[in-house]
């Protein structure tokens, strides 16, 4: 049962995967979001047990390189939101080169060298407390945001990622520095507001919801929207001038034991069927434009305009800032202007 439109020799991969009967994935996406995907994958290809290891992105990295070096059992595929760490592994030669059958449906920036593929399209959003922030005050773009948070009301009540601790936060902020011509203003505004930094999305949103903080910057939109559904205190805006987009990167371990199953999984994730689940059940924003729904790239682009969407490319260039010297310089500058206490 080769899916429609796949080449005929795809059956070989399916047969191989069936024989392997197992697939090990290390992922940084929580299992609640992954569960529907696995269920559907199993429905499509019964007989392949998917062993999904839920950890944080640093753990994915640490565990994988240690295991790879020891030559023991390790993951067949790695799927993580830490684009930089994923690209580092991929460009260090841990990734298998495999041209997905779905590659044509994925934007070019989301595929690198047929090794690493972006799977989601998650915006960096501004999140605010609906009870305590007036609808009129809600900023619609970066300049407004910078202006707003300098008001006394927001002193000590603005939050964002601690970019020294959070990889995602760091990545967004460096992209901001490139995309935003007035980044220095933004940094200064943070300094005026005495921004409170957090190491995870969860703490940020909890504090915004409770009113301890009023507004949060660069919060991962996918999580924020899910939360906003259940929590009427949470409001989410995507900045109209430009919105940064992050994509969860998947690649197959070059030394994978269950390489066929891994290929099958990757193709499935990028397929229309998989992307629909990602969008509608996992709420992680489908990257494929042919998937429709609330949490899809198509919908996002419709809202903000094609030109204002600024995806972080799945490309070793995200590693630019991984060079220790550059990284330290950026952190130092950030701390001196925005993070000063």
């Amino acid at each position: 049962q080769v899916p429609a439109g796949y080449p005929a020799d795809y059956q070989k991969i399916i047969d191989g995967a069936k024989k392997e009967g197992k697939l090990v994935i290390y992922g940084a996406t929580d299992s609640k979001a992954t569960q529907p995907l696995i269920k559907d994958f199993n429905a499509l290809y019964p007989g392949i047990t998917v062993e999904y290891n839920d950890m944080n992105s640093t753990e994915v990295y640490n565990r994988f390189i240690s295991e790879a070096a020891a030559g023991g059992n390790t993951a067949d595929a790695l799927w993580s939101s830490a684009m930089d760490l994923q690209m580092r592994l991929a460009s260090d030669g841990y990734a298998l080169q495999y041209k997905s059958v779905e590659v044509s449906k994925i934007p070019g920036w989301a595929v690198w060298d047929d090794k690493a593929y972006g799977t989601t399209f998650e915006p960096a959003a501004i999140v605010y407390n609906k009870r305590l922030v007036d609808a009129k005050e809600v900023p619609q773009n970066h300049a407004d945001f910078a202006k707003l948070i300098q008001q006394p009301k927001f002193k000590d009540k603005v939050t964002t990622y601690d970019i020294e601790k959070s990889g995602v936060g760091f990545m967004f902020m460096t992209q901001d520095a490139r995309e935003n011509p007035k980044f220095v203003d933004l940094e200064n505004a943070f300094g005026v507001a005495k921004v409170r930094v957090q190491s995870s999305t969860g703490t940020m949103m909890e504090r915004i919801s409770s009113g301890e903080n009023l507004i949060g910057y660069n919060v991962l939109g996918s999580y924020a929207l899910v939360r906003a559904k259940a929590d009427p205190s949470i409001g989410v805006v995507l900045p109209k001038d430009y919105t940064l987009i992050m994509s969860r990167v998947i690649f197959i371990n070059k030394a994978a034991k269950n390489v066929n199953a891994a290929k099958l999984w990757m193709d499935y994730m990028l397929s229309h069927r998989g992307q629909t689940i990602i969008a509608n059940d996992s709420k992680l924003f489908a990257i494929r434009q042919d998937v429709t729904g609330e949490t899809t790239s198509a919908e996002l682009i419709k809202q903000i305009g094609k030109d204002n969407v600024k995806p972080v490319p799945v490309h070793p260039m995200v590693l630019q800032f991984l060079g220790p010297a550059k990284r330290m310089a950026f952190l130092k500058q950030w701390k001196e202007t925005a993070g000063k206490k």
Binding site: D30, R63, T159, G202, T203, S209, S210, L322
Partner: protein, 591 residues
């Protein structure tokens, strides 16, 4: 009549069981530490083909101003924690064990709460209840017009850490007090000392050894405090060594093991002298503290007019360290959202519990946690018991060596300890494999065919997790058991030897049955600790072996604070029920 002689065994000389126990313990303790030590002198992960030997890592961290800040903070945190927890723990023990304090019955089990609730959850509870918009804070704001505290300040963190570690000290102090004859205290009372004076002039000075041990232990735990600082330290950017390690990962883009290892080595180096100081204290203190006394007889000391003051103080402590944060957690688990301007009655929900029940992984996590606590805890107690017996009444080099060793693993932050255990499970088999490849005798072949795959597969079982937990908490568990062992009169064992029992038989037939209740108590305590532990296990978890501690962290990271609260609530309730049952069936809290 003829003398009945023993069946001759002829075996004499080396004490094999002891040798095996000591060797295994030494391997379990030092193998991971050696890896860390080795790693700290490289400039890349030790398993990478390209690496250089050198002091880069040390140079880097010593140049890094953050390290200095983190180190200073960690030191103050640990010192402050000890300064708060040790006297309070000692006083609490005195009040609980020796006096007619009202409400002892319900205070005793409550005291255990901070031991089994993960500090991260605790911190979160404080945020919900006493944070800037916490409900106690808002309440105070209504009355006073301002909030009289700032839960995020470093001082608050130190105070909270100190107060939540009071029970650890309490455990040691109370078992020391129990084995101390009360006649010395009565002598002081008859001489005219009030209960307060008795406590400060007699009881506490006499249990100095136990307090010194507890002080060193909580100092170690102070260096290791992570969850609390993670939750409460972020908003104002307070950093300690454990969170600095976390930061290091991101600082250079990729995790930098050599830096983490260097930090860990620094920690071990700092704590080593401390262990020595404590050993010295113990030695000189032991000299003149004679724990004898007729024991049994003691009437609770009447506190008189101090009674209600003492009760109020303890109640205040319970309020602050248990009731306030716990009520925060409970509340959070039953509401959709909360905060300034929210009427809690409108947002009550059971949704979070429903969600948890829907997730098989979470349920499995609960089951696993209970299992690792109950079964793993039991096994750990057996191992601790074996080690304690290896040290029992053998004042020789090996005992001293073990005595120093057991504390060392606790000096390494849990996360790194977990990582080094992962390395052990990964690389030891592959090195052995490499070595065996060179030889081709039968034994080597058999080993590489059977033993090595076994070693490899161990890693992904819950055994790996258990081993890591057991080693990290070795000092804690050992002390519980050796206190029990101390109470076994040597002549009971000597009597058995005199009638012809070998060492092994003495241990089996006399020593172990006599510390039965001590072991049960230790089991309970180890259960509680394993229940909350997570950082050590992060790298050793795999699907099917998840535990609540780790799940809480990952839920926290993805923003499901509601689930964190609900899961904690379930976990705390389960443990509380289990505790209740255990206590009902006569397990003593401590010997």
């Amino acid at each position: 009549m003829n003398t009945l002689t023993l069946p001759s065994t002829g075996r004499r000389g080396i004490n094999w069981p002891r040798g095996v126990v000591v060797a295994l313990a030494a391997i379990a303790i030092f193998l991971p530490l050696l890896l860390i030590f080795y790693q700290s002198f490289l400039n890349a992960p030790f398993f990478m083909p390209v690496k250089e030997f050198g002091f880069d890592a040390y140079r880097f961290i010593f140049d890094d101003p953050d390290f200095a800040v983190a180190f200073k903070n960690a030191f103050w945190l640990a010192a402050g924690l000890a300064v708060i927890a040790v006297p309070l723990g000692g006083m609490l023990a005195f009040l609980m064990i020796r006096t007619d304090l009202p409400g002892k019955g319900f205070i005793a089990p409550l005291l255990l709460v901070p031991i089994f609730v993960s500090p991260m959850v605790m911190g979160f509870g404080y945020v919900v209840s006493m944070g800037p918009v916490g409900f106690y804070s808002l309440w105070f704001k209504e009355i006073l017009g301002f909030i009289p505290w700032n839960i995020y300040s470093f001082t608050s963190i130190v105070i909270i850490a100190g107060l939540t570690h009071v029970p650890h000290v309490y455990l040691y102090a109370s078992s020391a007090l129990k084995s101390l004859g009360s006649d010395v205290e009565e002598a002081a009372r008859v001489a005219g000392a009030s209960p307060l004076q008795v406590m400060f002039n007699v009881s506490l000075p006499m249990i100095t050894p136990a307090l010194a041990y507890a002080a060193v232990l909580v100092f170690f735990l102070g260096f290791e405090v992570f969850g609390l600082v993670l939750v409460l330290g972020d908003p104002e950017g307070h950093m300690v060594l454990a969170t600095y390690l976390y930061k290091l990962t991101n600082k250079l883009g990729t995790p930098s093991y050599h830096l983490m290892a260097a930090v860990a080595v620094c920690l071990v180096m700092v704590t080593m002298p401390l262990v020595m100081v404590q050993r010295h204290l113990l030695k000189s203190a032991n000299k003149f503290v004679s724990i004898k006394g007729k024991g049994a007889r003691s009437k609770a000391m009447p506190l008189g007019r101090w009674k209600w003051l003492a009760f109020a103080l303890i109640f205040g402590w319970l309020m602050f360290t248990i009731i306030m944060p716990m009520s925060g957690i409970v509340l959070r688990s039953f509401v959709q959202y909360w905060g300034e301007g929210v009427n809690l009655r409108d947002v009550l929900t059971l949704q979070h519990f429903r969600e948890i029940l829907e997730q098989p992984a979470l349920i499995r996590g609960i089951v696993n946690t209970v299992l690792i606590g109950v079964i793993g805890g039991g096994l750990a107690v057996i191992c601790y018991c074996a080690i304690a017996l290896a040290m029992h009444r053998k004042p020789d080099f090996i005992t001293r060596f073990l005595d120093y060793s057991v504390l060392v693993p606790r000096a390494v932050p849990g996360l790194l300890a977990g990582l080094s255990f992962l390395w052990v499970f990964l690389f030891v088999p592959s090195w052995m494999d490499g070595m065996l490849k060179g030889m081709d005798n039968g034994v080597a072949l058999w080993l590489s065919e059977h033993a090595i795959p076994l070693l490899r597969s161990v890693r992904s079982t819950i055994f790996a997790l258990w081993l890591a937990y057991s080693v990290v908490w070795l000092a804690y568990g050992m002390r519980l058991i050796s206190t029990a062992l101390l109470q076994v009169g040597p002549e009971l064992e000597e009597a058995a030897r005199a009638v012809g029992a070998s060492r092994g038989q003495v241990t089996r037939d006399v020593t172990v049955p006599l510390i039965k209740y001590g072991l049960l108590g230790a089991w309970l305590m180890v259960f509680l600790i394993f229940e909350r532990e997570y950082s050590t296990g992060v790298y050793l978890l795999s699907p099917g072996t998840e535990v609540i501690g780790a799940m809480l962290v990952s839920l926290w990271a993805t923003g499901s604070t509601d689930l964190v609260a609900a899961l904690s609530f379930i976990n705390i309730s389960l443990v509380a029920i289990g505790l209740g049952v255990a206590l009902r069936f006569g397990v003593k809290l401590h010997n």
